[in-house]
């Protein structure tokens, strides 16, 4: 997960140096400097090279849901510090810093909404909050999102963006993989649609649990997807990694991804898959 942080830190310092007023953004794909308003109109995709900038959970929600409307649930869940974890910083300080930065209490936003009239229970992860890492709160909120799908018999959509399980909650974070996957077993038995959407990056504990378990898996182009981090793999095997390794395209080529969708088509693609799989109840009275 460290190299995500490095990349992010790099980006921040770049922005500070080169675009002090925030009007311009330098593309990480082609290095072109783009007027921010143009970037916003293009849904934060570079008009020159199609690089998909990472966007936060609120922007994803606006993009995907009908009228951009989400009825939020479980907003008050907040991380405790059961291990009293401390490295160079206290875990509690990291949480507070991320809460200030994002305005949310943890790394996922959940609720009910609809996509092209299909009601959905949706969870959208937020990388800005400690790298989208999954601790007890993320695990619990995902679990409740799955349960809302089961209770209401409506499709589940999870948009992942995460470096994996949150180290600061130790074994409790690992168990969130088991918790969410066990509930997805119940969802699958009830034949309820689950669409897993992968954005850059989705790796490690999140990839090795709910993100991999969608009936249909859709990813944005060139997202980093995989189990182990590229640096760990490189160190283990002692050789360079092939070009495009662990990209969405690589993932699809090897059979683990249904659809690669550009951001502008994401809502449409999800909507199609929802309509192909979801049969609304016959009468509203039921």
């Amino acid at each position: 997960m460290d190299w995500f942080r490095k990349t992010k830190a790099g980006l921040v310092s770049q922005q500070k140096k080169e675009i002090p007023d925030g009007l311009w953004t330098k593309c990480k794909g082609c290095s072109e400097v783009i007027y921010s308003r143009i970037l916003e109109e293009s849904l934060w995709v570079c008009p020159s090279c199609n690089y998909h900038f990472r966007i936060n959970a609120n922007k994803i929600i606006k993009l995907l849901l009908d009228d951009g409307q989400l009825e939020r649930y479980d907003e008050n869940l907040s991380s405790l510090d059961p291990l009293k974890f401390r490295d160079s910083k206290k875990y509690t300080d990291r949480i507070v810093a991320s809460q200030k930065k994002t305005g949310d209490l943890d790394a996922v936003i959940c609720g009910l909404g609809s996509i092209d009239t299909v009601p959905v229970s949706i969870a959208v992860m937020n990388f800005d909050f400690m790298g989208g890492s999954m601790g007890s709160v993320v695990g619990e909120k995902i679990a409740r999102a799955i349960e809302r799908s089961i209770d209401r018999e409506i499709p589940l959509v999870i948009v992942s963006c995460s470096g994996g399980a949150r180290m600061q909650e130790g074994i409790l974070s690992l168990m969130q993989m088991a918790k969410t996957s066990a509930l997805l077993a119940v969802l699958a038995k009830k034949k309820i649609t689950y669409i897993s959407v992968l954005t850059n990056p989705t790796t490690a504990g999140v990839m090795a649990s709910y993100a991999s378990l969608g009936d249909i898996i859709i990813a944005e182009p060139k997202a980093l997807l995989g189990f182990a981090g590229p640096r760990v793999i490189q160190q283990t095997i002692g050789q360079d990694l092939p070009e495009g390794f662990q990209s969405s395209e690589f993932f699809q080529e090897h059979g683990f991804l249904d659809v690669i969708s550009e951001r502008k088509d994401l809502r449409k693609n999800i909507s199609l898959c929802l309509h192909y799989t979801y049969t609304p109840p016959k009468s509203l009275g039921n």
């Binding site: 997960m1 460290d2 479980d74 008050n76 869940l77 907040s78 991380s79 405790l80 059961p82 291990l83 401390r86 490295d87 160079s88 007890s136 709160v137 695990g139 619990e140 679990a143 399980a165 949150r166 180290m167 909650e169 130790g170 074994i171 409790l172 974070s173 690992l174 168990m175 969130q176 993989m177 088991a178 918790k179 996957s181 066990a182 509930l183 077993a185 699958a188 038995k189 790796t203 490690a204 504990g205 990839m207 090795a208 649990s209 993100a211 991999s212 378990l213 995989g226 189990f227 182990a228 760990v232 793999i233 283990t236 095997i237 990694l241 092939p242 390794f245 690589f250 090897h254 059979g255």
Partner: protein, 319 residues
């Protein structure tokens, strides 16, 4: 007496043991009566052991969990069961030597064993890929678990891995998918699943065969979201800070038990499982048999409901 490789903190014990055995030999060879001296040294040895092992740091326990002489999965299968028939291959790609599966009998009762396997010398370590399974290992495990389910046999799982293998081929063949699928499928199997962490329980690689009705840890095993080395490399930016990371991660059996995430801690002989593998195996077998007796009472629907509830409750947060 211990022979072969040992850990730093075992050294004073080994030295004293050597002294005692030399004295015993000397007294027998020369026919000199040294009983009281020997007895006093044995008392001193006991005290020394008590002191060293009462105050083991988490990092020292991690060392014990990795002890080169520690019993591995196949050792326990041999000690607690009979007539083991190993089953090979995932039916898609290969036979992963880091994962062993097969039928055996515990006190006459047929069960399916699943577990990671480490090697002991350089050659067997490489053969077993250091206990780090590839996707085909998790898929072989799932194939055998489905078979156990089909024939109504309980599944006994022994976890001992430094992690799922981080390699190019592992990613190409879907390491994440293989682990995720196991988690979901294991939540659906209608036979009892009894799990014990016998050595190292590193992250998704351990959990990939780790969802079941009862989960135990041997006293000197560890179970964590990430290895101490991995954690220290990321958060301390220094792999040498692994002892600090081990403390912070609270990863030993006592910690995980205190968090309420396991069903019990299986005692090991003082000094670790390798000091008396047979005793450790007897303890392990006792826990497995008792657990089977408990879950045998349950109808499949109740078994599954309890299993899902067990994991549903895990997590610490405020609301």
């Amino acid at each position: 007496m211990i022979e072969g490789p040992y850990l730093d903190f075992e050294k004073p014990i080994l030295d004293l043991e050597k002294k005692i055995s030399d004295m015993v030999e000397f007294s027998q060879a020369e026919n000199i009566e040294l009983d009281s001296e020997i007895k006093s040294l044995r008392g001193k040895l006991k005290k020394l052991q008590d002191n060293i092992f009462a105050e083991l740091s988490r990092w020292q326990r991690v060392q014990l969990a990795r002890h080169p002489k520690r019993p591995y999965t196949l050792d326990y299968i041999k000690m607690i069961s009979t007539d083991f028939v190993q089953l090979h291959g995932d039916r898609y790609f290969a036979d992963d030597k880091a994962m062993v599966c097969g039928f055996a009998r515990i006190d006459g009762r047929p069960v399916m064993f699943i577990g990671q396997q480490k090697g002991r010398d350089t050659k067997s370590k490489l053969h077993r890929n250091f206990g780090m399974a590839n996707p085909e290992g998790y898929r072989k495990a799932l194939r055998c678990m489905h078979m156990a389910n089909k024939f109504g046999r309980p599944i006994i799982i022994l976890i001992d891995t430094p992690g799922a293998f981080p390699g190019i081929g592992a990613e190409e063949r879907g390491q994440a998918e293989s682990i995720a699928r196991n988690l979901r499928e294991m939540a659906n199997l209608e036979v009892p699943i009894i799990i014990t962490i016998i050595g190292e329980g590193a992250s998704g690689g351990a959990l990939g065969i780790g969802l079941g009705d009862r989960v135990f840890m041997l006293e000197n095993s560890w179970y964590s979201v990430i290895s101490p080395e991995g954690c220290s490399a990321i958060l301390w930016r220094d792999a040498a800070k692994a002892p600090e990371a081990a403390e912070a991660l609270k990863l030993v059996a006592k910690d995980v038990e205190a968090l309420g995430l396991i069903d019990g801690l299986i005692p090991e002989p003082e000094g670790g499982a390798h000091r008396d593998p047979e005793m450790t195996a007897r303890n392990l077998k006792g826990y497995i048999l008792k657990s089977l007796e408990e879950v045998d009472q349950l109808e499949p629907a109740e078994l599954l409901k309890n299993r899902i509830l067990k994991y549903r409750r895990m997590g610490v947060y405020s609301e």
